[in-house]
Symmetry: C2
Subunit: 319 residues, 2 copies
């Protein structure tokens, strides 16, 4: 354990309370354990099954039904539920938060997180919203793993009057979980993530649903021939529906703005196809490669060709 | 070698001519060698650099500038160039094809392939169009590998009067390359691939270009925070621009029809966001998971969470 990334041996917090123990909550537990960052981890979930699993998997020493019970005695509290639940949770935990505790979250929208949580945080408790830009299409307490945040970015969106010591401590916490940290305003976060995450998920969900309701092409054909590109979209369209519902309801303005841009651009590609404008098509397709190269150079993806990857357990048709 | 998938030891053809030696052509060479299917492999490319690489890599014993030279003495000829070049190539090779040779292709559109190739094929030569539904975002002769077709589907679109023996032989050839084979009409192929491959690529190219031209979000931010979903789109948007230009120019009708359906569905999602219709959003997102499950069950993808994959060579920020 002590040889792992981010390990310092030094405990930063005595008790971490994870409000929600799904993919991100469980990954924080694994990564915090790997780095020896906290003395004890407790959690809460409104679902009995999740509580049982979180305890059975050792993600938390105790999983409570009521988040107010989980935050008692915790010097760091992280909300890891869908953002639609934040207001109610913040209201429930507010009176029970320890003085000088840090309260944060991992939600994919930040202006709404600040709007719903901040009013319930008492004086002397430090609220700093956050978002680790990392995930998989899996959900639930079994889905987490310690390496999820390694090399990824975590965005923190402190309010202007945020406590500098608490901010520095939360920043170090995320670095020791394996992340790089960037600070920005909640509004700018929501605009950036609208294009890098929310719109990609929306159009992935959309094409999967379009494909599922075509009379002239069967579902079985869509599935069989998905290796031509469609498959990549289904992966992100398998992400948690409730989490994503809440993202779109809580980042409406930026999503609608970016969707407008996307649709305008798509109409112009559609015109280029209709009028056989070969030069425009080739130019636009070639430009897209440069962005891809940037992502690989920035270490946010691998250049290995995984679009053609061999599915595990698949046998060739003859042997 | 003899232990590999698809190996029979039995040579099916004496001389294979690959017209074009990019990702697919070079993968056919590797897979045909792995299975011991052909005596000799020759090729052609209009690019001197590609010819040199194809010979240096041992993909072909000889790479010609003129496709007519490559097809002399070949009992199987496979066009592996962008589909926009088919008419000219077919015209050039037609007079030089061996009697009883099989001519096929690997293009992503099939009605246009038949339209452009069939008129140039002399009597006694068997033309059967084909499309292995497999690929990666890499291109060029170095990109190929023997396993590319393993467990994937190859679609053959013979004309009604196609020679049954030649069809059976081509089907066996693709099975020994590792594929499963499906037969359908060129028109149905083009409709199915429009939704499973062409539209996914078009919207991937589109979102990458939209993201690249946002004033309020920098390219550097798009790249840094791409792990939120955008990254998956850039992978397929890195595919060969000329190949994809030709796909859209040659499958206009089906692509425009499917794009119309996609855009209608997207507008209805947009309305659900604008009017905060939580129930519709959650229902549509949940439905998309079922299609994903089908793809994994059909062996066309793995359930491993690769959306969160660790980039090679990336070190955590602390150690």
């Amino acid at each position: 354990m002590s040889e792992h990334a981010g390990t310092s041996g030094e405990r930063m917090f005595k008790r971490l309370a994870l409000i929600g123990v799904g993919l991100i909550g469980s990954s924080i537990s694994h990564a915090a354990r790997r780095a020896g960052l906290v003395g004890e981890i407790v959690g809460s979930s409104s679902t009995a099954e999740t509580r049982d699993k979180a305890e059975a998997l050792g993600l938390v020493s105790k999983a409570y039904a009521d988040p107010a019970d989980a935050v008692r005695g915790a010097d760091i509290v992280i909300l890891c539920t869908p953002v639609g639940a934040y207001g109610e949770i913040a209201k429930a935990i507010g009176p029970h938060l320890e003085k000088d505790a840090i309260v944060s979250d991992v939600g994919s929208v930040k202006a709404a997180a600040v709007r719903d949580i901040a009013p319930h945080i008492p004086g002397g408790v430090h609220f700093i919203a956050g978002h680790p830009v990392a995930g998989t299409e899996q959900s639930g307490p079994e889905a987490g793993f310690a390496e999820l945040f390694d090399g990824r970015w975590c965005i923190l969106t402190p309010e202007a009057d945020a406590d500098r010591m608490a901010l520095a401590k939360l920043e170090t916490f995320w670095q020791r979980l394996g992340s790089q940290v960037e600070i920005m305003t909640p509004e700018h976060h929501d605009l950036v993530l609208a294009i890098t995450s929310h719109i990609p998920h929306l159009i992935a969900y959309n094409i999967v649903n379009t494909a599922a309701h075509l009379g002239r092409v069967t579902d079985s054909e869509v599935i069989k021939f998905s290796a031509g590109g469609f498959r990549d979209f289904t992966r992100i369209a398998a992400s948690d529906p409730v989490m994503w519902r809440d993202v779109f309801l809580n980042n409406k303005e930026a999503v609608l703005e970016m969707l407008g841009r996307f649709s305008e651009d798509l109409v112009s590609l559609q015109r280029a196809i209709r009028f056989s404008d070969a030069a425009t098509l080739e130019r636009l397709f070639a430009e897209a490669r440069a962005i891809r190269r940037g992502i690989i150079q920035a270490g946010q993806d691998t250049a290995m060709p995984d679009f053609g990857r061999r599915p595990e357990g698949t046998k060739p048709s003859e042997s």
